[in-house]
């Protein structure tokens, strides 16, 4: 059963009638990835502002997906006919030309079916020629974020993908992810794609085949889902957690055919022990997911120094030490991926979480600073920032806080651990070499920190 009982109620025949009459929101049922289902299961519409450079590469990707691109958009008049609306806005070089967004989306937006996708492809504002170009490109962000808020009640999402010049060929893994049900809870995001070191997977369902991934905090919750998803997509997964979580860790590793390593990542010997283990058992690591994290919530005045130290050490400092060991010993090779789990609290701050928010904001700084270093090694560093995710931790929250967390997003519900995991798997893909230094929220476009 869904952890969100209200969602189940509002989507039932009787409950739906009652909640509608009371004027309560109806959290949509989000489509999620199911093996064997086509990535795009209905026609899509593709438009472009004159002078753009992304329409053709996008069309090429859609062709590879066997997606039916509706050519006669004038014939689209019904509701729920289209799976996705894609628009190349890279040619917009002046604010007066922003109208092309209105002209494309206005007649089609109602034709988007539930769990549909809006993708606007554009250029990074700072790369645009002149003040007017940069102004226009920056304006697109407000448009996309608003579209996301308007279509969220249908379970649909909207994202802005900014592609630097020369990176037109680096979009495929990102387009596939954002168009698919795998990105169900990613909403209202701005994703930057640069040219990077890419490898096209032989099988897009298993892009991590032949790659070794490590996940900290893998015994339960989000870490467990990350380990499962990476294994599903072909990776050999090293599941890491503290010794006291060994029982659950062992079950996860056995279920996904990975291996377990019980290690307190904050221990002084942990970086060396991890490096030794990776060197001896795997030779190298392709993907390292820093997921382990703790909370010790108290307002600043009441917070003990131990609570501060523990949270900063587990959530941030230990990651820095492990990265040093991985990078210093050359264990993260070419095509490597460091992916760190931040939090919406790290972006927006959160009452009672001075220690936690500091650590999670630090992660954003860390991946931003690591990105150019890893680019040199043809590798990447990125972060995901989950919002309200349904876990054992949120299940234990007081009802009011939990309901507030769930309903204050465009999708009117909490996400699932698998939503975070899918986002990480996309960043981990060998085809995602153009995604570097990004912080992608998995929050259903939560209001906080927006």
């Amino acid at each position: 059963m869904s952890p969100d009982r209200y969602q189940s109620l509002a989507n039932s025949a009787f409950g739906g009638a009652v909640t509608k009459r009371l004027g309560l929101p109806k959290p949509p049922l989000l489509e999620r990835h199911e093996p064997g289902k086509p990535l795009v299961s209905a026609p899509v519409a593709l438009g472009a502002a004159r002078g753009g450079r992304l329409e053709e590469p996008v069309r090429e990707v859609l062709r590879g997906l066997d997606a039916h691109v509706e050519t006669d958009v004038g014939s689209v008049d019904g509701r729920g006919e289209l799976a996705a609306l894609l628009f190349d806005a890279s040619g917009i070089d002046d604010s007066v030309r922003l109208r092309s967004l209105y002209e494309f989306f206005h007649p089609l937006i109602r034709a988007l079916r539930p769990s549909g996708r809006v993708l606007v492809l554009a250029a990074p504002p700072e790369d645009s020629a002149g003040v007017r170009g940069a102004t226009a490109q920056r304006a697109i962000e407000g448009f996309v974020r608003t579209v996301a808020k308007e279509i969220g009640r249908n379970g649909s999402t909207a994202q802005l993908v900014q592609v630097t010049s020369g990176a037109e060929g680096a979009m495929e893994s990102t387009l596939r992810f954002l168009l698919s049900a795998r990105s169900a809870y990613v909403d209202g995001q701005v994703i930057r794609i640069e040219s990077g070191h890419l490898a096209t997977p032989a099988d897009w369902d298993r892009p991590l085949e032949g790659r070794t991934a490590a996940v900290t905090g893998a015994a339960r919750g989000i870490g467990e889902a990350i380990a499962e998803t990476l294994a599903d997509q072909g990776a050999e997964v090293l599941c890491i957690d503290v010794p006291t979580a060994g029982e659950g860790l062992s079950e996860v590793a056995n279920r996904i055919g990975g291996t377990s390593l019980t290690l307190d990542i904050t221990g002084s010997g942990a970086p060396a022990a991890l490096a030794d283990h990776i060197r001896g058992r795997h030779g190298r690591i392709d993907v390292f997911v820093h997921n382990a994290g703790i909370t010790r919530d108290k307002t600043l005045a009441r917070m003990s120094p131990e609570a501060w130290d523990a949270v900063l050490d587990v959530n941030l400092s230990s990651q820095e030490r492990l990265n040093d060991a991985l990078l210093g010993d050359g264990l993260l090779g070419e095509g490597g991926r460091i992916i760190s789990v931040s939090s919406v609290s790290g972006i927006a701050g959160n009452r009672g979480q001075a220690n936690y928010a500091t650590s999670k904001a630090g992660i954003i700084g860390m991946v931003n600073a690591l990105a150019p270093v890893l680019r040199e090694r043809r590798a990447t560093a990125n972060a995901v920032a989950p919002g309200f995710i349904e876990t054992a931790m949120t299940a234990a929250m007081p009802v009011t806080a939990r309901e507030a967390g769930r309903r204050t997003s465009s999708l009117v519900q909490g996400g699932l651990p698998v939503d975070v995991a899918e986002t990480i798997a996309w960043l981990a893909s060998p085809a995602s070499g153009g995604v570097n230094g990004n912080v992608v929220r998995v929050c259903g476009q939560a209001l906080i920190g927006a």
Partner: protein, 429 residues
């Protein structure tokens, strides 16, 4: 006769569940539950899901008759390939080490490339048998065909026959418990109370310290909420132990208490062994090699030797065969069935009379440096689920040798029935 060609036998690692005191955390767990958990923990550490291992050998002492194929059942319930064969060995407290020797020998002979050895025991989920009178009557009833004959048998039913037969920790041939046997040896060897308590305190102190420094992080997988051995008392002290009344032996000479004897415990432990080639193919570092082993027994029923004195003879034979002296070791793992058993063993090997008369040596066998003895604690602190102790010690010693970088370790385990099992582990520089 020259020794046959033997391949080196690699020890790749161990895994056990924390040991629980009887009727505590594992009260509802069966031997099968515990051994499967220990196996699955090992499988996850070494990525052996779906792997066909050469064989799994493990056993338990206190077993229910329905667990006739216990180890095989555990394999079938584990993440290992169901194509992995398995069998049981029961050699009392020697079980876990004896299975290690069996698996190692098959690897040495090239019959298998990899194997898992170990053992399990529960004193909580103990086998309870029917009253012996009732059992015979029911069997007779089954054999009798005529109704009148059956009615005749039913008249033999007596209320007293509902009292079941409980398993007893006693030697069938003497009627004495293991503790009572060891009390005789303790007295004969003149082992004092204070030195026994000292061994016990040291065991707790060292086991606790090993936990604190994370030594067991890759040797133990928590089970049913228990994260460390339930018997461990980090705050054990001579003063506290001195207050306990003796439980074995009688009169003023009684020195053995619940503090310096191992308690009844539940648990399971396994180790992974393989050939060099198999280890390399699986990218698994070799922790140590099993060099040689010796199992012995003494006539404790009619002879002069005590029930737990077999290692006194087995170890010298083992070392002589390998041209090693007692000083040639960096670690000594003498299973602490009772503190007095360890002390008695060391005393015997230092005793010129015993070494001359019983071992036929001109010089005493030698002394053991206490700094190298049971350095991460032993059974007095960890507990001693009979079948599991061998696996616990092999895994621990292999890791100690890995930490040291190179060296040699000796294992000695005394067992019921007047038996003892010993082995040498080595790690080359």
């Amino acid at each position: 006769m020259s020794p046959p060609d033997r391949r080196p036998v690699a020890i790749l690692g161990g895994n056990r569940i924390p040991f629980a005191r009887r009727d505590r955390e594992y009260a509802g767990a069966s031997n099968q539950d515990m051994l499967t958990a220990a196996l699955d923990g090992l499988v996850s550490r070494f990525g052996l899901q779906g792997e066909r291992v050469g064989e799994v050998a493990a056993g338990g002492v206190l077993k229910r008759s329905r667990d006739f194929n216990l180890t095989r059942e555990c394999v079938l319930g584990s993440a290992l390939s169901p194509d992995t064969p398995a069998y049981e060995v029961q050699q009392a407290c020697g079980t876990g080490l004896e299975t290690t020797i069996h698996v190692a020998n098959k690897i040495a002979l090239g019959q298998i490339e990899s194997g898992i050895a170990g053992g399990v025991d529960t004193t909580s989920d103990a086998p309870i048998e029917l009253n012996e009178d009732l059992r015979r009557l029911l069997l007779d009833l089954n054999r009798t065909r005529s109704t009148t004959g059956r009615l005749g048998l039913v008249r033999r039913l007596r209320p007293g026959q509902v009292v079941p037969a409980l398993p007893r920790n006693e030697e069938p041939r003497t009627g004495l418990s293991m503790g009572e046997h060891q009390a005789i040896s303790t007295k004969r060897w003149g082992i004092g109370r204070a030195e026994q308590d000292e061994i016990a305190v040291e065991s707790h102190r060292r086991l606790a310290a090993a936990y604190e420094r994370g030594f067991f992080d890759d040797l133990i997988t928590p089970f049913l909420g228990l994260e460390r051995d339930g018997n461990l008392r980090p705050d054990a002290s001579i003063e506290k132990l001195a207050k306990l009344n003796p439980v074995f032996g009688d009169g003023a000479g009684a020195t053995m208490t619940a503090g310096n004897s191992t308690p009844l415990t539940d648990g399971a432990a396994v180790v992974l062994l393989s050939s060099e080639e198999w280890a390399a193919e699986h990218s698994l570092p070799v922790l140590a090699h099993l060099v040689d082993a010796e199992t012995g027994a003494v006539d404790f029923v009619h002879g002069d030797d005590g029930l737990l004195e077999a290692p006194l003879f087995a170890v010298p034979r083992l070392l002589d065969r390998n041209a090693l002296g007692l000083q040639d070791f960096d670690f000594y793992e003498l299973h602490e069935a009772f503190a007095s058993q360890v002390l008695m063993t060391m005393k015997a090997w230092e005793d010129p009379a015993f070494c001359s008369e019983r071992l036929g040596r001109d010089e005493p066998f030698g002394s053991i440096d206490r700094g190298k003895l049971n350095v991460t604690g032993s059974s007095l602190a960890a507990g001693h689920p009979f079948g599991a102790t061998g696996g616990r010690i092999v895994g621990t010693l292999a890791k100690l040798l890995t930490e040291r970088g190179s060296g040699r370790g000796l294992i000695s385990i005394c067992a019921a029935g007047g038996m003892g099992v010993a082995a040498i582990l080595e790690r080359e520089a």
